[in-house]
């Protein structure tokens, strides 16, 4: 470059838009609405590209006696077939522990219905699918273990159990004035990302592979593709521009399809795309863990918990995947916002012959929170108090021991009590409670219910080393900024927020920043975009990179203009050096001409966190995000059908980086949480075959299920006490658990049939059928 570009017109000394704290629009919004935003399947395949598809097992457990692929091979359009025999590299793609064979072969044991037996590449998507259906497979059937109860009976676990305790729960429970015990079942959840799993692999020079993948975890995809191909990681690049939804379902579950396509691309020397049809996606990929909570609780006459003995058994499916950490997180959240003076929590990772369950927004946390909220509701009815009052009775406070969790973490910022107080007022809880009681007395069939439930959610990966991130910033000589970081965009607005951070650092318009696809050759060794950590980690890393470049620019200005560093300012699209004003791009050009490096990497690691698993004590979380929701429902006691009438939410997001995006996360998470606990029911038959394999049978909330009145507030004036990015708080997962208010309100409506003196038996999800059953059981139950 011998001469420099003309600085863009209108650059400099203008109001800077899109810095942190503003409701900057999602960076792709204008492309979403016009259909121009490209997802993996929208990318054009190279001219000789192939389409891959997989053959899935049709039994949930059995020995493969014969795998005859001759008809597949002979089918129209088929170019290549892949079985386990073709793989010279690693054959197990388990993300943390082994147990996830990429395929199973003749002679192997099938572990779940929908397990991959082989893959085929053909000239079209339809031909590949048709060919895959032609395999002849003979099994010797083995008895599958399908339910959590079966797995518990057989002590069949994918990982060892773990216990957290404080005090002596059993002894205290035995001596408590009041006691309850019970079993409570919590259903799983299908991610139902609108864009199914998809990968496109293009062979590169030196035996390498370029992988376009809809994944939350490009680095893990890179590592596994390298391993199955038996090549070094530096020959594999994973590129993820955006996902059509992830929710945890593409944290580890995107890897297998990328690996299979890469193997076929390697074998044929041609680009290969793979995309799962919805029904196969639902059969072959993991879901939220279903749980069985078994508990004994002792409490005083006000409903104050004295002792809790709880066992949380997560249905993990056939392999460990991430279940160790998921059941841990359920245990870490079995207190929710409540101080449990004497407690023992045991977490079991139960093995079943079903697809291996995986990450899903909240990562076990929601199940732990629901388990304790169910107990609180029961206690309230047992002592005859409004459940809200029993919740308040049990909140953590800053008094003595009451500020410490059962795993030994001290709660630094006590937000819940005030937040709940505020929401109670703004939602008019007490008055509505009375109105609802009056309504229920005169309404013969329809009954209303009301509930306020809080959430305290720990932020950080509980696996310590994942709490790090990198970023890369280039500034070009026209003043435009190229941003890249290790986080992936799945709709949560991460790219927008990180661009806002960079815009704020340089004090430039956010539109001058381009955030490009997440790529393993730009920022290496990244963690999955998960655990609500995307902005906390990548925002800080990008800030670090921006500060490095800024510092160089400041140093240059000091030398060049012979001024002190405090005389150099970045402000309103300008760089001010002493009394000279430059537009940002003018100054960038000056720096370039004076040979200043305008590119930097940034890095961040979360401080303070540690957890000693031997002792089951530590500080696994950097901080907690808090929130609460009040929901009012209407239940048809003749059918169990119901409707959410109104929801009020107050969520603590610290100092919001982008209120519009944060509110979007809260509303979306709430509805997703509500769906998990109401209409979303995964049904397997007794042979472990999933029966709900599409949106026709698996019902996520539709537009009419959103509450008629929906008020969402970000808790004002509550910056994060920890030094997070601009003192904001994570928002991805915590509000999912606000959906518990709907489940609790449904219980409240049913309980109104017996004047709130008895607790309904209502497992989750509370489908109309379960609600009607609970109504009938409650009506018939003796006092």
């Amino acid at each position: 470059m011998r001469n420099l570009p003309n600085p863009p017109m209108g650059d400099g000394n203008t109001a800077v838009n899109g810095t942190v704290g503003t409701g900057q629009k999602h960076e792709s919004a204008h492309k979403h609405v016009s259909g121009e935003a490209l997802y993996v399947d929208d990318q054009l395949l190279p001219i000789d590209g192939l389409h891959a598809y997989v053959g899935l097992s049709t039994v949930s457990r059995g020995l493969i006696k014969r795998l005859d692929l001759s008809a597949v091979r002979a089918a129209e359009g088929v170019v290549s077939i892949l079985t386990l025999d073709d793989i010279s590299g690693h054959r197990d793609i388990g993300p943390v522990f082994p147990g996830d064979p990429i395929m199973v072969n003749e002679g192997d044991e099938v572990q779940f219905h929908g397990q991959v037996l082989f893959a085929v590449a053909a000239t079209s998507y339809k031909l590949a699918r048709k060919a895959a259906a032609l395999a002849e497979v003979e099994y010797e059937s083995l008895e599958p273990s399908v339910t959590i109860e079966q797995g518990l009976d057989q002590q069949n676990f994918v990982r060892p159990s773990h216990t957290q305790q404080r005090g002596s729960a059993q002894k205290v429970i035995d001596q408590s004035p009041q006691r309850l015990e019970g079993d409570f079942r919590i259903g799983g959840q299908e991610h139902m990302y609108l864009e199914g799993q998809a990968s496109l692999c293009v062979p590169a020079e030196d035996g390498g592979m370029l992988v376009y993948c809809s994944t939350q975890n490009p680095t893990e995809g890179q590592k596994l593709v390298a391993e199955v191909l038996d090549i070094p990681m530096n020959l594999v690049t994973v590129d993820t521009r955006r996902m059509g939804g992830g929710f945890g379902g593409k944290e580890t579950n995107a890897n297998q399809w990328a690996c299979l396509a890469a193997l076929l691309a390697h074998k044929t020397g041609r680009a290969v795309k793979i995309r799962l049809a919805r029904a196969d996606d639902m059969k072959a990929t993991g879901k939220r863990h279903h749980f069985l909570s078994q508990y004994k609780v002792g409490f005083n006459d006000h409903g104050g918990i004295l002792g809790l003995d709880m066992s949380l058994s997560g249905g993990c499916g056939n392999s460990p995947d991430l279940s160790d950490a998921i059941v841990d997180r359920a245990m870490f959240h079995s207190d929710n916002a409540y101080y449990l003076p004497n407690v023992r929590v045991i977490g079991h990772r139960v093995k079943t012959n079903t697809v291996s369950n995986t990450a899903f927004r909240g990562f076990g946390g929601p199940q732990g929170v629901l388990a304790i909220e169910h107990i609180i509701d029961r206690i309230a009815r047992a002592v005859g108090r409004d459940p809200l009052d029993v919740r308040k009775e049990n909140f953590y406070t800053d008094e003595g021991e009451r500020n410490t969790t059962h795993y030994g973490q001290k709660i630094e910022q006590h937000i819940i009590a005030d937040l709940v107080e505020r929401l109670e007022k703004t939602s008019n809880y007490r008055q509505r409670r009375k109105q609802i009681e009056a309504f229920n007395q005169t309404s013969p069939i329809l009954k209303k219910g009301l509930a306020l439930t809080p959430v305290k959610f720990g932020i950080s990966f509980t696996v310590q080393h994942l709490n790090q991130a990198g970023a890369l910033i280039h500034i070009y000589t026209d003043g435009s900024i190229h941003l890249n970081h290790g986080g992936t965009e799945m709709g949560q607005g991460l790219f927008t927020k990180v661009a806002q951070v960079v815009a704020s650092e340089f004090q430039v318009h956010v539109d001058s920043i381009h955030c490009s696809a997440t790529r393993t050759d730009k920022v290496p060794n990244t963690s999955p975009t998960a655990a609500s950590s995307g902005t906390d980690l990548n925002g800080m890393a990008a800030k670090d990179a921006a500060i490095k470049i800024k510092q160089r620019m400041v140093n240059f200005a000091c030398e060049h203009f012979l001024i002190k560093s405090d005389k150099v300012k970045f402000c309103s699209g300008e760089v001010i050096a002493g009394d000279q004003h430059f537009s940002f791009s003018e100054f960038v050009q000056l720096a370039y001409m004076n040979r200043v490096s305008l590119s930097a990497t940034g890095y961040y690691k979360t401080p303070k966190i540690h957890y000693d698993r031997e002792k089951a004590k530590g500080q696994p979380f950097f901080y907690f995000a808090n929130g609460a929701a009040v929901s009012e429902v209407l239940v048809d006691t003749l059918t169990g059908e119901n409707k959410l009438l109104r929801t009020d939410i107050c969520q603590d997001v610290g100092k919001s980086l982008n209120p519009a995006i944060d509110i979007g996360q809260i509303e979306g998470a709430f509805i997703q949480g509500m769906g998990w606990l109401t209409t979303e029911e995964l049904v397997w038959d007794d042979q472990g075959r999933l029966l709900t394999t599409g949106p026709a049978s698996y019902k996520i909330p539709a537009i009419g299920d959103a509450p008629t009145e929906f008020n969402v507030e970000l808790l004002p004036d509550s910056p994060n006490a920890e030094a997070t990015i601009y003192h904001s708080k994570a928002v991805g997962e915590p509000p999912l658990m606000l959906g518990i208010s709907v489940w609790s309100a449904l219980c409240d409506a049913v309980a109104s049939l017996r004047n709130h003196k008895l607790s309904p038996l209502l497992d989750a999800p509370a489908t109309p059928e379960r609600i009607l059953k609970a109504c009938n059981e409650l009506r018939a139950r003796a006092m």
Partner: protein, 481 residues
């Protein structure tokens, strides 16, 4: 060949597999990837496109699921996708409002929502929350929780409806009329597979005689799943949508006659006029995209045990006009179903029209649909009740259920317990217990046998409460929606 407008461009398709869906045609043949595949079964709406048809000198815009629309059915219509809305590099007001309201997160469902909203905007001048829900109930979003989308669907009315579509409406109508006047043989053939689109009942009847194995394609909302979900292509498809005589909704002194090609959307007003309680059922039946494509005759014809219209038609004592060649016969809907997915329909015979009696002066009609989700869900069970009460006694009653047996059928024991009995609680109690003799429902992923029976019995209680005068309190949650 098949001729249509792709937005403004005259487009001819000739050599294509007739089992190709509009979605695959867009994405795989034209590389127009703005329209997304979420499920390929018409249940998520990510693939929503708008299909415009000339009616008089105007265009009617209807949303449709491209994933279950056969490409041959586009003949003589205008196909509009999300890419077409942007004009002169400016977002369409509907798109801009969606951006302004933060209505997209991951963006994958967004083009589908945009197209449903575009159709809604074209069909109404003011915002109506009920219409918004009705129009967008078939579009699933997993990210937003819908609130910003509802806001956008309200705010889009703040911008005048005038756009490049209204400016070119006249030209498009002319172009479509020209295509429709040309009357070429509308057909597709490829590798031994055929698609025919006859324009008259006689042609349809002859084609079915010639190709007795042919699959009759009406809305395609069920049949297309054969192609996309089960990969079972049809050798011969005969499309009913262009048969003029079968597209009629006719109200006579005694009957409402619905041609077999009439969609739910086209017949909704006429049905609801006669039987107001059908309003809720029709709006909960599928999604608007499905109702825009699906036909009531198709709902009867495919003989699904869980269709919602068959129990209604049985309770209303409707009849079917069946035709084979030149021969016709009338069959009562209740006699049409023989056993699971088997009907009295002979080879080459088809449903030409549905004949529904007008209500008698004293006739009471109620129908209840039970499903896991209120909108766009298949019923666990659906009951339809038609009765007349004369001086406190039930003088006539017809009760039919879907989802309770292998075919939609009448509840005869239950009816007998009510007929000629006083209309009171005791009668209802007895009738409810008699219902258990009528049906032995199954357990599946939608509901257990016990639930199906128990909610069906409870429908009788609700019926009683609703007909009791005066109604004290609403007894349906949908009355709060």
């Amino acid at each position: 060949m098949v001729k249509f407008l792709l937005n403004q461009s005259a487009t001819v398709i000739d050599q294509i597999d007739p089992n190709t869906t509009v979605l695959d045609y867009l994405r795989e043949h034209l590389y127009r990837t703005g329209t997304k595949e979420g499920c390929a079964s018409g249940d998520c709406g990510a693939c929503t496109v708008v299909i415009a048809e000339a009616e008089g000198d105007k265009l009617t815009y209807r949303s449709a699921n491209a994933c279950i629309t056969a490409v041959g059915s586009l003949h003589g219509k205008q196909l509009i996708t999300a890419e077409d809305l942007k004009h002169n590099n400016q977002l369409h007001p509907v798109q801009q409002t969606m951006v302004d309201c933060d209505g997209s997160q991951c963006g994958f469902c967004t083009p589908g929502f945009i197209m449903s909203m575009f159709a809604l905007r074209k069909n109404s001048q003011t915002s109506d929350p009920h219409k918004t829900i009705e129009s967008l109930g078939g579009n699933l979003c997993r990210c937003t929780g819908y609130r910003p989308i509802v806001d956008a669907a309200e705010k889009m009315y703040e911008v005048p409806c005038e756009d490049h579509f209204s400016r070119s409406e006249k030209k498009v109508v002319e172009a479509l009329n020209t295509i429709n006047k040309e009357q070429p043989e509308v057909a597709l053939s490829n590798a031994g597979k055929h698609f025919f689109s006859p324009a008259s009942v006689a042609d349809l009847a002859n084609l079915l005689l010639e190709y007795p194995q042919a699959k009759l394609l009406a809305g395609g909302t069920d049949l297309c799943l054969e192609f996309t979900q089960f990969l079972r292509d049809a050798e011969v498809l005969i499309y009913t949508g262009r048969v003029r005589d079968m597209a009629q909704v006719k109200l006579t002194d005694q009957y409402l006659e619905l041609g077999a090609a009439v969609t739910y959307s086209q017949s909704k007003d006429a049905l609801v006029d006669l039987y107001p309680d059908l309003h809720e059922l029709i709006e909960r039946l599928g999604s608007l995209q499905i109702r825009n494509q699906g036909t009531i005759a198709g709902n009867v014809g495919n003989a699904s045990p869980i269709g919602d219209m068959p129990p209604v038609l049985i309770a209303l004592n409707a009849q079917l006009l069946l035709r084979k060649g030149e021969q016709t016969r009338l069959v009562a809907v209740e006699d049409y179903f023989v056993k699971y997915k088997v009907t009295v329909l002979q080879t080459s015979e088809f449903i030409e029209k549905i004949i529904i009696p007008r209500p008698e002066a004293q006739q009471l009609f109620r129908t209840y649909k039970i499903s896991k989700r209120l909108e766009d869900d298949i019923s666990a069970t659906c009951g339809a009740f038609s009765l007349q009460i004369d001086q406190g006694k039930v003088s006539d009653i017809r009760i039919a259920f879907g989802g309770m047996a292998e075919i939609p059928k009448r509840a005869q024991h239950c009816e007998r317990a009510i007929l000629n009995q006083p209309w009171n609680k005791q009668t209802i109690e007895l009738a409810a217990s008699e219902l258990a003799k009528d049906f032995t429902p199954i357990t599946d992923f939608r509901a257990s046998a016990e639930y199906r029976l128990s909610v069906s019995q409870n429908m009788l209680h609700r019926l009683f409460l609703e007909l009791e005068q005066p109604t004290i309190q609403p007894v349906r949650i949908t009355q709060y929606a």
